[in-house]
């Protein structure tokens, strides 16, 4: 028998006794206040961490340097506690918090209550800071093989970044502000953001943006130390790779979301905010290649340092563009001049500081490696040139409307047609030279041998391009070019792996050697192949997508690219926090039924906002994409049907690129501490 708890003894009408095991409003408020307090404490810890280790490293005082690691851990735990408190406020719908009232609603599904934490300016900034401190803590935890002075300086610089953004959060965008009179319910999260694809797009993007803060800290620490060597390259590369992987995933998620959610199947709009994430991606890609040269050949040192500084600069410019509203875009949030000025000041401070340090100390970086004109080093310089200039074009295009209005009094727009024209040639060029550069040996090589090895891949690529040209209906050069590049990059990667198994031995020997190649080699091949797949997807979507727009009655059939789409029914459906008009479509090819599609048009009453949910039949070679519109005056519904060839290759390629990065990241040389004793080979155990 259960003993009655104190609560059960209370008369039903009486107030619940103090100490009852239910979280009262009082507890809820307490948790929020603790979160606020933890945030301020994190700021104080960051201030200490930014100063003491730096002095310690200068004076060679081990005790002062040793402050850095525990401080980094404490800073992370405090920020995490603060983030958890804010999440708690969202989950329990504590409408006494201004932020929760503005961005949540009690009827919202739990997943979106949680993701709503970063679906707004203040919460996303807290997430940003959480990741800054997480990366710092990672150096504290895993950087055991770093020299103490370098580690202290890296963590001090990372803490300076923490101080700047914590100050920004606490003084201009505090998420823990209260409302005097809490409303009965919230104003709901923007329905467009209530989607799994977009829910996880910002965290990945921030992991990428902020990962670059780590390379910045390493670069500044190296400038203070006045020394960059192969070991430095090895320490900084995992963070660059990680940042690039996260950016790749984040950008792909955003683009995939736009594709299925915005209702016309576009996947990239050259919007300022998209560009803000794309520029750091391009620079990070350049940086992770030049860091290889530092690591393996001790050349390109000062250039790599400069790239590391600029890469984080682009991350911060991205934050500024997104949050200041200077370049207004569809998804800019929190357009606030005061915040914008603060962010601009942070960006300017870290960039000017970094570049001044660079100007003063870069000459101390002596390059050691010598290489010929025809060498891997030269080809990686070309890689950096192409990626750097491509990024520069995106940058100029993004800020040009602002510059033009300020200095030339011309109000104009720079949109997709400009970027398509100015940016694409660089990617084509990059794709053309990539397989050759990837195979050219270090120090000195000859093109003849490489080109002979690559001949089969080249023939295959030409064949793929010609086939595409023959099969297409129009005269577009873009589609065949995309398929050529895809075959060339994938074929080149396969050739690269295959030649690495040596020249001798039968197929079985070579296949066995293939499995034993370092993971970095596999990572490189997979990532380069993925780039080719993405290029093919982008080219095919731009060149060959077809569409049909019409008024359809129930029972009507639409023919598109060999498929038939039939409208069977239109229904009203009640969702958890929306009302939906759902169309039932059958997709057939000839007599075969391929699938049933349910595009929706939703209306969110709280936010007074409609959204479209496309019905998509995903396929390896094509997507069929159906959107239902409004009822028409004369009966029937506006229906749009799209045939999107190779659509999924865009994101499939991005997944491959990220996978390649992860393979590289798991390479033995990053797992084994530098200078550590080689692990003795495992003795074979006889089978019983």
């Amino acid at each position: 028998m259960r003993t009655p708890s104190p609560r059960q003894c209370v008369h039903p009408g009486a107030p619940i006794a103090i100490g009852a095991p239910v979280p009262s409003a009082y507890d809820k408020r307490m948790i929020t206040e603790l979160g606020h307090f933890a945030l301020i404490l994190a700021f104080c810890v960051a201030c200490v961490q930014a100063v003491l280790p730096l002095i310690g490293a200068h004076k060679r005082w081990p005790g002062w340097m040793a402050v850095a690691a525990p401080a980094a851990t404490a800073q992370f735990l405090l920020t995490a506690a603060s983030f958890a408190a804010l999440t708690w406020a969202f989950v329990t719908s504590d409408f006494s918090l201004r932020l929760v009232t503005l961005n949540s609603h009690s009827a919202k599904p739990l997943l979106y209550k949680i993701t709503g934490v970063w679906g707004n300016h203040e919460g996303s900034m807290l997430l940003w800071i959480l990741i800054v401190t997480l990366f710092g803590a990672c150096v504290a935890w895993f950087g055991t093989n770093l020299p103490p002075s370098l580690k202290a300086r890296v963590l001090a610089v990372q803490a300076m970044i923490g101080v700047a953004f914590l100050a920004f959060l606490i003084f201009t965008s505090n998420p823990f502000l209260r409302l005097v009179v809490p409303p009965f319910d919230g104003q709901d999260l923007n329905p467009l953001l209530q989607d799994p694809g977009l829910a996880f797009h910002p965290p990945f993007l921030y992991l990428g943006y902020v990962g670059l803060s780590m390379t910045y800290s390493f670069a500044i620490a190296a400038l203070i130390e006045g020394r960059v060597d192969a070991a430095w390259g090895r320490w900084v590369r995992p963070y660059t790779l990680a940042a690039w992987i996260f950016l790749t995933i984040g950008i792909a998620l955003g683009s995939w979301w736009a594709y299925y959610e915005l209702g016309w199947g576009g996947f990239w709009f050259w919007d300022p905010v998209e560009n803000a994430s794309f520029m750091p991606w391009l620079i990070a890609a350049a940086l992770l290649h030049s860091a290889i040269v530092v690591e393996k050949r001790e050349s390109l040192k000062s250039w790599t340092i400069l790239l590391a500084i600029i890469a984080f600069g682009f991350s911060m410019i991205g934050a500024f563009i997104t949050r200041s509203g200077v370049l207004t875009s569809v998804h800019a949030f929190a357009n606030d001049p005061e915040r914008g000025m603060f962010l601009l000041a942070i960006t300017a401070l870290f960039m000017m500081g970094g570049l001044t340090m660079f100007a003063a100390r870069a000459s101390a970086m002596q390059a050691k490696g010598v290489f010929a004109v025809k060498s891997r080093e030269s080809m990686l310089v070309l890689n950096n040139l192409l990626l750097g200039v491509a990024c520069f074009i995106v940058f100029v295009g993004t800020i040009w409307p602002l510059v033009s209005e300020l200095f030339f009094d011309r109000k104009l727009s720079v949109g997709a047609p400009f970027f398509d024209l100015a940016f694409t040639p660089f990617m084509v060029l990059l794709g053309l030279v990539l397989p050759v550069g990837a195979m050219l040996p270090w120090k000195r090589g000859s093109f003849g041998r490489i080109l002979r090895a690559l001949a089969p891949a080249f023939v295959l690529a030409i064949a793929a391009g010609l086939l595409a040209f023959a099969m297409q209906t129009g005269r577009s050069a873009l589609g065949p070019m995309g398929l050529f590049l895809a075959a060339w990059l994938v074929g080149g990667s396969v050739t690269d792996l295959w030649t690495r198994t040596g020249r001798t031995g039968d197929i079985r020997d070579r296949l066995r050697r293939l499995t034993r190649l370092p993971r970095a080699d596999w990572g490189k091949a997979v990532a380069h192949g993925g780039l080719g797949i993405t290029m093919a997807g982008v080219a095919a979507m731009n060149a060959w997508a077809t569409e049909d727009i019409r008024v359809a009655q129930v029972g009507d059939s639409i023919d598109l690219a060999g498929y038939t789409v039939t409208l069977d029914d239109v229904r009203r459906v009640q969702g958890p926090n929306y009302i939906s008009t759902t169309g039932d479509f059958t997709l057939t090819r000839g007599d075969d039924v391929i699938g049933v599609l349910h595009p929706e048009k939703r209306f969110y009453p709280v936010a007074q906002m409609p959204t479209t949910e496309a019905g998509i039949d995903n396929g390896f070679l094509r997507d069929i994409y159906v959107v239902i519109g409004d009822p028409q005056d004369g009966g029937g519904w506006a229906v749009r049907t799209y045939h999107k060839p190779l659509a999924n290759w865009i994101w499939g390629g991005a997944i491959l690129m990220a996978l390649g990065g992860m393979l590289s990241l798991s390479d033995r040389r990053y797992r084994v501490a530098a200078g550590a004793r080689k692990v003795a080979p495992v003795q074979g155990v006889p089978a019983e």
């Binding site: 923007n190 080093e377 310089v381 030339f408 959204t611 506006a638």
Partner: protein, 150 residues
């Protein structure tokens, strides 16, 4: 502000981009209209072409483009008709002339500059004294290849 923009784009006219009733019967003319409207900016939504936009104003512009085309205008006449009324702000691809030359030439200029620096750097590295034992000569390399092949 964000809410306002989304409101303008989505609430103002909860309809989807190009509507069936807007489209021209002549497929060739309609294709030209689509091509033109994908290069013109919706003035109330940011960074969206009138072809993609859901706003009422974009619909008006789409109808205007089609109206001019059916009256026999060439593509460039249609575009300049709209630019005359709304300014060059509506062009998603900025014109080449005047200060915009900076925008268009920035990329190629940077490429030339960067390539120049890269070539100088590579040549200097190629001529620099090797820090360790020197690289193999052509004959040594051929010999090494021979050994490897055996």
């Amino acid at each position: 502000m964000r809410r306002l923009i989304l409101l303008l784009c989505l609430i103002a006219a909860p309809v989807l981009a190009v509507q069936p009733d807007e489209m021209l019967d002549d497929p060739a003319l309609e294709a030209r209209a689509r091509e033109i409207s994908s290069g013109l900016r919706c003035l109330v939504c940011r960074n969206e072409s009138i072809d993609d936009s859901n706003a009422e104003l974009a619909r008006d512009l789409r109808l205007l483009v089609r109206d001019r085309l059916t009256k026999g205008d060439t593509d460039s006449e249609v575009v300049s008709f709209i630019v005359d009324r709304y300014g060059e702000y509506v062009l998603l691809k900025p014109q080449m002339g005047g200060s915009n030359a900076v925008l268009w030439l920035a990329g190629p200029a940077m490429l030339l500059l960067g390539a120049g620096i890269a070539v100088l750097y590579i040549r200097r590295r190629a001529r620099a004294e090797p820090a360790g034992p020197g690289a193999l000569t052509e004959t040594e390399e051929a010999r090494l290849r021979q050994i490897m092949d055996e």
